[in-house]
């Protein structure tokens, strides 16, 4: 058992009738914030719901913090917070009663639950509205109340299923800030499921991409971007072709693009500062030098094109 893993999948398969929704997923995930991406119907929510024990796996299993979801689901749920995708609340309750109720169901004694309910509501920004009935809340406020109930019992892992669903831009920004705050606090891991690439890009360090119930990509966004720092696009104010020739002398692979830019691949021993030095020695002015950062969109599209991938 890999005790460092937050989530470990071992041939996890989920079927609904004849349909295979998750196809024998395997892998070990230990990132602090993991974005779960994929087109509609890829199996993102099913994966979360299976990890929460809502769906029975038809094959394989998974472990969360080393606890098997088939045999130790109570322990798993004790360590996990969950913010569901749909509008979910308990009718007729004020926000503070609702969050306190949820904390008590998680096992906190009433006094501690009440104290933490107030804290959680202040934390998500609903402090002033905490005595209002949930039915009177706007959609954005309901989303925040759902986040409050997910963190009130102090979980070690937080599952957020489409947390920005239906939010207007300011409310979305607020939610993203909160999620980033939780991540940067460093005291819990989070898995954010979304079909919005921007949400994942702004909040997650790692990304797990699903397609048709299979994992097609798992990567660390920052490392992925670092790798691409070796791909450069350079434009000079003079003879691009001559500069490209000089760069080849350093061992770079160069190609002249149609927009008069030079596309370069730097070998391992060559750094960007070597190019600046070369330009200074030759009296060439560099008008533009971009290292091509792979956006999450690029990573996602590549993963979709590649189809079935593996970890």
């Amino acid at each position: 058992m890999d005790t460092k893993s937050v989530i470990e999948l071992k041939g996890l398969e989920v079927r609904f009738g004849d349909r295979v929704i998750l196809k024998s997923l395997s892998g070990s995930f230990s990132g602090r914030s993991i974005g779960l991406l994929g087109p509609n119907g890829a199996g993102k929510s099913t994966l979360i719901n299976t990890l929460m024990g809502f769906y029975e796996p038809s094959g394989g299993t998974a472990r969360i913090f080393g606890y098997d979801i088939r045999r130790r689901i109570r322990e798993v749920r004790r360590l996990v917070g969950y913010m569901p995708e749909n509008e979910s609340f308990i009718a007729g309750m004020s926000a503070v009663a609702f969050v306190c109720f949820m904390a008590e169901l998680a096992g906190l004694p009433h006094e501690a639950a009440l104290e933490r309910a107030h804290e959680a509501l202040f934390y998500v920004g609903l402090g002033e509205a905490r005595y209002r009935k949930l039915e009177e809340y706007s959609l954005g406020m309901k989303q925040l109340a759902k986040l409050a109930q997910a963190i009130v019992h102090g979980p070690r892992l937080l599952f957020l299923d489409e947390p920005t669903n239906g939010l207007d831009p300011p409310a979305r920004q607020r939610m993203i800030r909160l999620i980033r705050g939780i991540r940067e606090d460093g005291r819990l891991h989070l898995v954010l499921c979304s079909h919005l690439l921007r949400d994942v890009e702004e909040t997650c360090e790692e990304v797990l991409i699903l397609k048709d119930g299979s994992i097609v990509q798992y990567c660390n966004l920052e490392e992925e971007r670092k790798l691409n720092r070796k791909f450069l696009e350079v434009e000079t104010d003079g003879d691009n072709a001559a500069f490209a020739e000089e760069a080849r002398g350093l061992g770079c692979e160069c190609a002249l693009a149609r927009n008069r830019a030079i596309k370069m691949v730097l070998p391992d021993q060559v750094e960007i500062r070597d190019l600046y030095r070369l330009a200074a020695q030759r009296g060439v002015h560099l008008r533009r030098l971009n290292y091509k950062r792979d956006s999450l969109e690029d990573i996602f599209l590549k993963a979709m094109e590649n189809g079935r991938g593996s970890l």
């Binding site: 769906y55 009718a91 998680a106 906190l108 004694p109 102090g154």
Partner: protein, 287 residues
């Protein structure tokens, strides 16, 4: 105590024992149930029967009071099996009405607001959820059935003496068992209807339907087929048969005690099955 803490912190304190957590549901449910003045009024009304019974018991043992009110002892019900059978019948019906008011909203509201994943994402099982919801009704119904029943029994025993107590201990057993059969059957039925009918009023109407429409239908079967089998779907008659058996009262034609037990057990099993189907975090469409 400062509650304004703008940082996330883990909870490291003690936890409540898992077996006790189902009781959180009734505690919160009663805050909402007793928001209704009508329900408070009705609940208080449910204690009129036990109060009248207590007065009867008191009068039976107080000749001075009987003389003062000019009541003949013979006119008063004797405190025996029939007395407690009438008591449980009256309180059972009050319990039915109370269930019809409280029961339909218990699960349907959670289903309508997608609240079930919020319960089940915690260390809280589906069985605990159903037991918690059942206990909302069970505690209320207990307060108007077997608890006052046993208090009346104890009151009478204190006035009659220990010989009466030992001779009639079976009455206490009958009160306890008879009430719990009714409580469990009624609660399961109300919860099953609440789980399957999202609209609260419709679930309430259906509960009345199960009792009254089924009784009418059973009567029609009896008339048309010249049989007594129709009584098996008349829940009122079924439960009365069980109570008659428990309080050693003469049985009426129709349902035999064995068949009555079979009906109650089957009905409870069907309700549990319906609940097991519906009480899930998410419903899965299997194609």
């Amino acid at each position: 105590m400062a509650v304004y803490k703008q940082s996330y912190r883990r909870y490291e304190g003690p936890l409540t024992p898992p077996w006790s957590r189902f009781l959180i549901i009734p505690r919160y449910a009663y805050q909402r149930v007793f928001d209704s003045r009508f329900l408070i009024f009705f609940f208080v009304t449910c204690f009129i029967g036990p109060a009248v019974c207590a007065v009867i018991i008191y009068l039976r043992h107080n000749s001075g009071a009987l003389e003062m009110f000019n009541i003949s002892l013979a006119k008063l019900l004797k405190v025996d099996g029939r007395f407690f059978f009438e008591f449980i019948s009256a309180q059972g019906w009050m319990g039915f009405l109370l269930t019809a008011f409280v029961g339909p909203g218990l699960i349907s509201r959670d289903l309508a607001n997608n609240a079930l994943p919020l319960y089940f994402c915690r260390p809280f099982s589906r069985a605990e959820y159903v037991i918690g919801k059942m206990s909302v009704l069970a505690i209320l119904l207990s307060l108007i059935t077997w608890i006052p029943g046993l208090l009346l029994f104890a009151f009478n025993a204190s006035l009659e003496g220990t010989a009466w107590l030992w001779e009639n201990l079976w009455l206490a057993g009958g009160l306890f068992l008879g009430s719990w059969i009714w409580i469990v059957t009624l609660s399961l039925l109300a919860l099953a209807l609440s789980a399957w009918v999202k609209w609260r009023l419709a679930a309430g109407a259906l509960l009345f339907g199960v009792f009254f429409a089924a009784a009418g239908f059973g009567q029609a079967i009896n008339e048309i087929l010249d049989t007594k089998s129709g009584d098996l779907i008349n829940l009122s008659k079924v439960i009365q048969t069980i109570w008659r058996g428990l309080f050693r009262q003469p049985l009426k034609d129709g349902v035999s005690p064995f068949s009555a037990w079979e009906v109650v057990i089957t009905l409870s099993a069907v309700c549990l099955l319906l609940l097991a189907k519906k009480v899930r975090a998410y419903q899965v469409e299997r194609s």
